[in-house]
């Protein structure tokens, strides 16, 4: 027959097989959806596997830094070097650590009594510590000869000093105690003293973005804001219970979070102190310390209930909880500046290193590995609200005392709610208004 044209599929196997055994396999792709049927259920199963694997690989504990002979009272991260950490203990000892090798590089007794707080200068060459002996001592970060081991500067304060924080770029630092004092490195007397009320302050923090702003927590349940250019304090907000620590959001200069004695953390907007932007629940005992991640999206909080919890700034409940059998009451937590690690100091003399994301693989990832992980993340996000996947992703094992405390807290909260509702039902309409949770905790705001 004329004009007959026939073509049938006839593949040359050489095009599809590798040439030698050392070669990689040839993989032909065809993205036609008909060749990939049942896309949705397969993706769902993959998401389920991904979320299960995430829980399987969630091993956040990296190691502990062992060396202090008393509980760790304070930690300070080096502003420029990731591997350097300074820690102070209840017996007045300060230790410097090399985190890469997890070894102590230097230790000395700095104060009589507690080391209340430590902070590095912005260039990282020196650090200052305050102790119960009313002294502010400045030390060199690196020791080259014997002389360097002595403090390069010792300041004597008239009153007890309980916290210290350094200005972002100027040679100014603030301490707190009976009142908030501003010091300049060269002077023996404070440059400025801020007073508001009679009670003592126990924590002070400079804002690292809006550099003239600083805030402190007072024992009279208040948080006080100062401007270091002004003569007096700016504002004060009083909560129901005392705040233990305060951290500024490093990305949003106007936000800060406080760790409160009433088991919660409160995120405030400086411009609107009347009510917190968010309340972060989940701890079952007083929250002692917190620190923001350098991204400003998350923060870590350590609590008296022997757990470390990680919160997202915009969410009310914790993303993750870390605990070990041996870890006791937390005294201080820090989030490393590469956003990968969390450091926690606790009562029982150890400093612990954790991964910031529990199931993250450390070290360099191969490209295929990375794409696989990215794909898994995308799937997890896509199917996040499926009940099965949500359940697995949320599940955390917590010690029994936490579980019981959570139960108790839940019943207490429900009881309060029930009582409120009952009162509302049995009184004149409008007599018992519904007060949002966020408005319940602020007692007053002063200017």
């Amino acid at each position: 027959m004329s004009g007959l044209k026939i073509k049938v599929i006839s593949r040359n196997p050489e095009d599809y097989l590798r040439a030698t055994k050392k070669d990689i396999h040839k993989i032909q792709r065809n993205y036609d959806p008909t060749l990939h049927p049942l896309e949705a259920p397969r993706e769902y199963v993959r998401a389920l596997n991904a979320v299960k694997l995430e829980r399987v690989f969630a091993k956040p504990f990296l190691g502990s830094l062992d060396g202090h002979s008393d509980g760790v009272s304070s930690l300070a991260k080096h502003p420029q070097r990731l591997a350097v950490l300074a820690s102070g203990a209840f017996d007045g000892e300060i230790r410097l650590w090399d985190l890469a090798s997890r070894k102590c590089t230097r230790n000395f007794v700095a104060h009589e009594g507690w080391v209340r707080s430590i902070c590095f200068t912005p260039d990282g060459e020196t650090f200052s510590s305050v102790g119960d002996d009313k002294t502010i001592k400045t030390w060199k970060s690196e020791v080259h000869d014997v002389e360097d081991e002595e403090p390069i500067n010792t300041l004597l304060s008239m009153s007890v000093v309980s916290g210290i924080s350094h200005h972002r770029n100027k040679p100014i630092f603030a301490t707190c105690g009976e009142n908030c004092q501003l010091w300049e490195n060269t002077r023996n007397e404070p440059v400025k003293v801020f007073k508001w009320g009679v009670d003592s302050l126990h924590h002070v923090a400079f804002n690292q973005v809006e550099t003239n702003l600083l805030a402190s927590c007072a024992s009279d349940r208040s948080i006080i804001l100062y401007d270091c250019r002004e003569t007096g304090p700016l504002r004060k907000v009083v909560l129901e219970l005392r705040s233990n620590a305060l951290a500024w959001n490093p990305m949003e200069a106007f936000m800060f979070t406080v760790a409160n004695e009433d088991y919660n953390l409160y995120t405030f907007d400086v411009r609107k102190l009347k009510q917190p932007v968010n309340i972060h629940l989940d701890h079952t005992s007083a929250v002692v310390d917190l620190d923001y991640a350098p991204t400003g999206r998350e923060f870590v909080a350590g609590s008296y209930d022997k757990t470390v919890r990680i919160f997202e700034t915009l969410k009310g409940h914790s993303r993750d909880v870390y605990h070990t059998k041996r870890m006791q009451r937390l005294t201080c937590v820090k989030w490393s500046l590469d956003n990968k690690y969390i450091l926690s100091g606790s009562d029982e003399m150890n400093i612990r290193m954790w991964k910031a994301r529990a199931s993250e693989k450390l070290g360099v990832l191969k490209p295929r590995e990375r794409t696989a992980l990215n794909y898994a993340d995308a799937l997890k996000e896509k199917f996040a609200s499926h009940p099965q996947i949500k359940r697995i992703a949320r599940h955390r094992h917590v010690p029994k005392h936490i579980l019981n405390a959570q139960k108790e807290l839940r019943t207490i909260r429900e009881k309060a709610k029930r009582k409120d509702a009952n009162r509302r039902v049995h009184s004149k309409p409008g007599a018992v208004p519904h007060v949002p949770e966020r408005q319940k905790h602020v007692v007053k705001e002063d200017e």
Binding site: L4, K7, I9, L35, P37, N49
Partner: protein, 576 residues
């Protein structure tokens, strides 16, 4: 003016993106050409150009080979996952923006997939003749003469003596499994013609099937279901599955679906050896069965002419269609799960749209009733008529008047299957097995991560592990496979129940049960109708009586009036 303001309101959060979309569409559909004559650089010309920029009609910028090449609409359509979300009704602008961003990502993925089509190496087969000729009359001999040697080896004939054979290809199209009525079971690599195993099971074999890899075979024998490996070793005897007539393997679920003589359907999870579903379908004995690759449901045709779709966890059919008024003889579902072809003993062939349960789209008359039907990957339909196989192309969307190819054999056909990723149709018949070439029937480009005809042992093992990890649970089999990614909207009852669990919220008493409407009327309306009717009847009656009374008056007029004494005149008897 009002309308305009409303439009603006609606567009509020999408204005930017809409512009982007329009740009995208422009990119894909046509390349805009701008013609400009650029003069040597001077401040003046630059200024002038800038001024011109403000008037978009006159702007002319020369673009030559710049930007990405346009994507054909057909390709885009192929990779489309639907229209996406318009963004209307999203309450918060933040979420609206997020959704919009996600939508852009989906569109990007679609574009990339469409662009990747250029990398496909093989072209589909074809068969072309002069305008005055038809492809129907082209015989296998002629085809073999005109193709290359390797393709020519794909037509062959196996003369085997053990009665009618059933044949099935493995998922990657590389291996062939034959099972005969008289117990001959053979597995081989049909491309290289290398035999894996050949045994006589000493029982009748009703159906055979490959499992997920080519090292495992399932054979439905006279009594029970047996599983063999590729050396012919018996691995399992499933006594739970007895007297099986037909089997289908669902590769993504690892389920072996079977129907037996008594109408019991069973799904065997071959990865753990457990039965995922086992129940009676109450259809009686039927051996017309196929599976829908789009949603992994099992389609059964019965003697009443009804096609029903089944999933392992639901003991009732998911859907039923009355296709023929006579018993069904064969069913086939195409790769995309859009069309279903059915034939009955009434010698008719019908095409149905099974996504919408609609049809018949096409209705053909055949010369005799069809033995078997099968769709190829490129949507060609093979119809077995006694000793002849006819292959139609484009039967579903258009009405085909002539078969694309016709192959006559001197043996009666038992079953046939198109070989995946090859232009081959394998026919199991009474005298053995015949393989013929059907140009253009197979998908030329395989995806090696789904099924790879050239995979070696290591790759097979890895693929097996991967597939096992992604095993879809049996309870996800439903008519719509995308149900799992759809938004779950709670019913009113669910919402109310959730509310009762909240402390101290008083639930409104709402009867969730749908009321049976009494012929569309309320009680009052019905009462009114009854009342009206009664009134009407009364009126009618009164009119009637009046008329009769008038009649009586008309008929029997008193001849005389006696004044007051009229009362003594005798009354006439009322008419009955």
């Amino acid at each position: 003016m009002k309308v305009k303001s409303e439009e603006i309101k609606k567009l509020r959060y999408f204005e930017k993106t809409k512009e982007k979309n329009s740009k995208l569409i422009k990119n894909t559909d046509e390349v805009e050409e701008y013609h400009v004559k650029l003069k040597p650089h001077s401040k003046w010309t630059k200024k002038k150009l800038e001024i011109k920029d403000s008037k978009p009609q006159k702007v002319i910028v020369k673009k030559k080979n710049s930007g990405k090449s346009p994507i054909s609409l057909k390709n885009l359509e192929k990779h489309s996952r639907g229209d996406g979300i318009s963004g209307k009704g999203v309450k918060h602008p933040l979420y609206a923006a997020k959704l919009q961003k996600k939508e852009l990502k989906y569109r990007f993925a679609q574009n990339q997939a469409a662009r990747a089509d250029i990398l496909l190496t093989e072209n589909a087969g074809y068969l072309e003749v002069d305008e005055d000729h038809r492809t129907t009359c082209i015989t296998q001999k002629e085809i073999v003469k005109n193709v290359d040697i390797t393709a020519a080896t794909k037509t062959f004939n196996l003369n085997l003596d053990f009665g009618p054979y059933r044949a099935k290809y493995s998922k990657n199209g590389r291996h062939l499994l034959l099972g005969s009525k008289k117990g001959h079971l053979a597995a081989f690599d049909w491309v290289t013609k290398k035999l894996h195993c050949e045994i006589n099971v000493m029982e009748s074999i009703h159906d055979v099937s490959w499992l997920h890899v080519e090292t495992m075979i399932a054979a439905a024998q006279k009594e029970w279901l047996y599983i063999y490996d590729n050396t012919g070793m018996e691995l399992h005897c499933m006594k739970k599955m007895d007297k099986i007539l037909r089997m289908e393997f669902l590769p993504y679920h690892f389920l072996l679906a079977a129907v037996n003589e008594y109408g019991f359907m069973s799904w065997l999870d071959i990865s753990i050896g457990e039965i995922a579903g086992h129940y009676n379908n109450h259809l009686g004995r039927t051996s017309v069965m196929t599976h829908n690759p789009y949603n992994a449901t099992i389609c059964l045709g019965n003697s009443q002419g009804v096609v029903s779709m089944w999933s392992p966890t639901v003991k009732k059919p998911l859907a039923k269609i009355l296709c023929h008024k006579t018993p069904l003889s064969a069913i086939a579902v195409d790769q995309k799960g859009t069309y279903m072809a059915t034939t009955g003993v009434d010698k008719s062939l019908k095409i149905w749209d099974i996504r919408n349960m609609d049809g018949p789209l096409q209705h053909y008359r055949l010369r005799s009733s069809a033995v078997d039907l099968d769709f190829s990957q490129k949507d060609m339909l093979a119809v077995g008529l006694g000793e002849v196989v006819e292959i139609y192309s484009d039967t579903c969307t258009k009405t085909a008047d002539k078969p694309y190819l016709r192959h006559k054999m001197a043996k009666s056909i038992c079953n046939f299957k198109f070989c995946p990723y090859e232009d081959v149709l394998g026919i199991g018949n009474s005298g053995g097995f015949t393989s013929i070439l059907v140009p253009g029937s197979g998908e030329p480009n395989f995806d090696a991560y789904e099924s790879n005809p050239y995979q070696n042992k290591a790759q097979r093992k890895e693929a097996e592990v991967k597939a096992l990890l992604e095993k879809i649970p049996a309870d996800l089999i439903a008519l719509d496979p995308f149900e799992v990614v759809k938004v779950d909207v709670p019913t009113l009852q669910d919402k109310l129940e959730a509310k009762t669990e909240l402390p101290h919220v008083r639930r409104k008493k709402i009867d969730v049960k749908a009321k049976r409407k009494n012929k569309g009327l309320t009680n009052i309306a019905r009462k009114k109708i009854i009342k009206d009717k009664a009134r009407k009847d009364q009126i009618m009656e009164s009119i009637k009586t009046r008329a009769t009374s008038n009649e009586t008056k008309d008929g029997q007029k008193p001849s005389k009036s006696f004044g007051v004494l009229d009362r003594f005149v005798s009354k006439p008897k009322p008419n009955k």
